[in-house]
């Protein structure tokens, strides 16, 4: 990639990667918190704009990077949530600095890591090389491990250690799967770099050795599945979400889980292109359904509000995996839509929860009561978010869940029973906790909190609009991607 510097500046594909990488270097050296937080927001905004320009002017497929209908959806979504989260983070960490939970030195590290994480996620999404994709996801894992442990409390260290061990094992299994895919491709495509290029792999996948592909997919499913947070490999997820800084919980739930799922989808497409390989659907359906029902029940016993929403993320990732496992144009469409809606809603909920935990000085559900009385804006923001995530009409998640259920009825009617059961279980738990937290007599501090409401309500507004009216071109786009997924 010997491109002159002048070309790099105007090429949006490189910009999506260079902006966060450059910003990370700058932020690592920048001492002041106030400026650094603004630079973080600006860099994230610039990355999002660069990603948007990829929609209009799509670059040619390269040996290392490429843009197609599938990954552009993920890139635009993740850079957008990355941008709004950076805006939320600016007000969130200001408060953390005030109460002394973080020092300025921590913040330099935090901001640099935030941008490295953005870089790694964009690289993982844009990579046209299965090896490079793996490296990017590994990098994203290591940065989030460091950020989860940033508070250095007992619980944060435990969470980070657990995340590190489970995440590394998952990522190691995924690498083994990647090597096996290379082994399967080598006799057909030939040795070297070409046999790891995804666009070359998908073209020739029909003549790969099916046995090797099958074994490879099992490893990839276990490996990347750990990162998606599918039961029974989810153990790291609730801890990592509850103990790290809340902006990181938002990014983990809204973005990193998606990136891992994206990697899984790429390999699912490879298997689907090979007629004699095992059908990846049943495996994904089983793990997805298991996660959905398991997380639904686990929601009842949560005492920590961030942990509760972490379990809700497991539930929704299970649901999305289930939808892609069912396959077909409708279920894939529903899966994509649900993924988008979940990212927006869950990060909005974490924005609200972050400020609530700061206002009340606790994350324990039992000590948070009557939020709509003590903090009306935050309280109602949370109510709206939880109503959305629980799948009530007219919000976006209702529509995507409805589509998932109806496509399941069309293709596998029997599976619809456990699916609806799991959804209802989770719905009950969320409503129960919501009524405790949001209504009744207010407890704890009711001092006003300096919060940025814009990211929270921007996300919720998008979810509401999507629930009422999806623009035609967007629907056509998603349908195209759904067909691509097979």
């Amino acid at each position: 990639m010997n491109v002159p510097l002048a070309d790099l500046v105007i090429d949006p594909l490189s910009a999506v990667l260079i902006i966060p990488a450059g910003a990370a270097a700058v932020l690592a050296l920048m001492p002041g918190y106030w400026v650094a937080a603004r630079v973080n927001v600006l860099a994230s905004l610039a990355t999002w704009l660069a990603a948007l320009s990829l929609l209009i002017d799509r670059p040619a497929i390269g040996g290392y990077l490429f843009v197609d209908d599938l990954n552009i959806v993920f890139v635009v979504l993740s850079t957008f949530v990355g941008f709004t989260t950076s805006a939320f983070s600016a007000s969130y960490i200001g408060h953390e600095l005030e109460i002394g939970r973080l020092t300025p030195a921590h913040l330099r590290f935090y901001h640099a890591m935030y941008q490295i994480l953005m870089f790694a996620m964009n690289l993982g999404l844009l990579a046209n090389n299965i090896g490079l994709m793996w490296v990017a996801i590994e990098l994203a894992t290591l940065t989030t491990v460091l950020m989860v442990g940033i508070y250095r409390t007992h619980a944060a260290l435990e969470a980070a250690w657990k995340y590190f061990i489970l995440g590394s094992v998952g990522i190691a299994l995924a690498l083994f799967g990647t090597i096996l895919v290379y082994m399967a491709a080598r006799p057909v495509i030939g040795e070297g770099h070409d046999a790891m290029v995804w666009t070359a792999l998908i073209e020739r996948a029909h003549s790969f050795s099916p046995e090797l592909l099958n074994v490879a997919f099992v490893f990839l499913m276990l490996g990347y599945g750990t990162k998606v947070g599918l039961a029974p490999l989810h153990a790291w997820l609730p801890d990592a979400h509850s103990e790290g800084p809340t902006p990181i919980s938002a990014v983990l739930s809204g973005l990193l889980l998606n990136v891992a799922l994206y990697a899984l989808l790429r390999f699912k497409m490879l298997l689907a292109a090979n007629p004699s390989a095992l059908a990846p659907g049943p495996l994904m359906v089983t793990m997805g359904l298991l996660s959905l029902i398991f997380a639904g029940f686990m929601l009842y016993r949560r005492r920590d509000i961030k942990r509760m929403f972490a379990y809700s993320s497991i539930e929704h990732m299970g649901l999305i995996t289930f939808a892609f496992g069912i396959g077909g144009p409708l279920a894939n469409f529903a899966g994509l839509l649900h993924m988008t809606m979940h990212s927006l809603t869950k990060s909005a909920i974490f924005f609200a929860v972050g400020h609530i935990a700061q206002a009340k000085g606790t994350q324990k559900i039992a000590e948070i009561r009557g939020l709509t009385v003590s903090h009306p804006v935050l309280g109602w923001g949370l109510v709206l978010g939880v109503v959305a995530i629980a799948g009530l009409p007219p919000l976006g998640i209702f529509m995507s869940e409805f589509l998932i259920v109806s496509s399941t009825f069309a293709r596998e009617p029997l599976l619809a029973i456990p699916l609806v059961f799991g959804l209802l279980v989770a719905f009950g738990a969320l409503m129960l906790r919501l009524s405790e937290v949001a209504f009744g007599e207010a407890t704890g501090s009711s001092a006003p909190v300096e919060a940025s409401y814009v990211p929270l309500f921007a996300h919720l507004a998008l979810v509401l609009v999507a629930g009422i009216y999806l623009p035609g071109p967007l629907v056509a786009w998603f349908q195209g991607v759904a067909r691509l997924l097979g």
Partner: protein, 220 residues
């Protein structure tokens, strides 16, 4: 490819599996670290041999990285960490060596059955290399599960990564980028681990991972 080349490759890869078994039951920290260094040295020899028989000089780079980083620097650094943490005299209860070894044998048998069958069409060198690599990987996983000390878990994890490098070099013509980045990620992971070990020690006064379990988010 002549028979000797294949035999030596098998000898080295098989040697790694045996050393993985040795790792499983070491209950003293220093002995564990020494055996791990041996594991890495055999890996380096195995990768170098692959470089020789595949006529792929670029593979000497991962071999050198394995030898220097994992065979010398990391064990020496962990040695120091163990002394500074003051756990060099502790004898770790590994618990049921017999069952663990039996389980390990089962895992090796499993990986042989799976890989030899799945990779039936690949050339014999790559196929058997993969089977050995999967064995090393699974034994590393087993070690991580059976250990409670944070340092031993790390050694288990690094032996698991040795298995990955064995697999990557056995796959002929795998782009070098991948191997280098694996090595690099090990380095980063090691730094992360080092930082964590001291923080855990600082907070818990112990590196027994069981001490961590008390602080589950649910019980606060």
């Amino acid at each position: 490819m002549d028979a000797t080349a294949l035999d030596v490759a098998h000898l080295l890869a098989g040697g790694m599996v045996l050393i993985s078994f040795l790792l499983l039951y070491q209950d003293r920290m220093f002995a564990l670290l020494n055996v791990f260094a041996l594991h890495a040295i055999v890996l380096a020899a195995s990768v170098a041999w692959q470089a020789h028989i595949q006529n792929a000089p670029h593979l000497y780079v991962p071999a050198a990285i394995a030898l220097i980083l994992k065979g010398i620097i990391i064990p020496v650094a962990l040695h120091r960490v163990v002394i500074r943490l003051g756990i060099h005299r502790t004898i770790e209860t590994v618990g049921g060596i017999g069952p663990t070894m039996l389980l390990g044998m089962g895992l090796v048998a499993l990986s042989m059955v799976v890989m030899l069958r799945a990779a039936a069409t690949a050339d014999p060198l790559a196929r058997e290399d993969l089977a050995f690599a999967l064995s090393v990987l699974l034994l590393g996983l087993l070690m991580m599960v059976t250990r409670r000390n944070a340092v031993s878990q790390i050694v288990g994890f690094m032996s698991l990564e040795n298995g990955l490098i064995l697999a990557a070099t056995g796959a002929k013509g795998m782009p070098l980028v991948v191997e280098i980045s694996v090595a690099f990620s090990v380095l980063v992971a090691f730094i992360v681990i080092g930082v964590f070990l001291f923080r855990i020690r600082e907070r818990f006064d112990s590196v027994d991972v069981q001490a961590l379990d008390v602080y589950r988010g649910e019980q606060r």
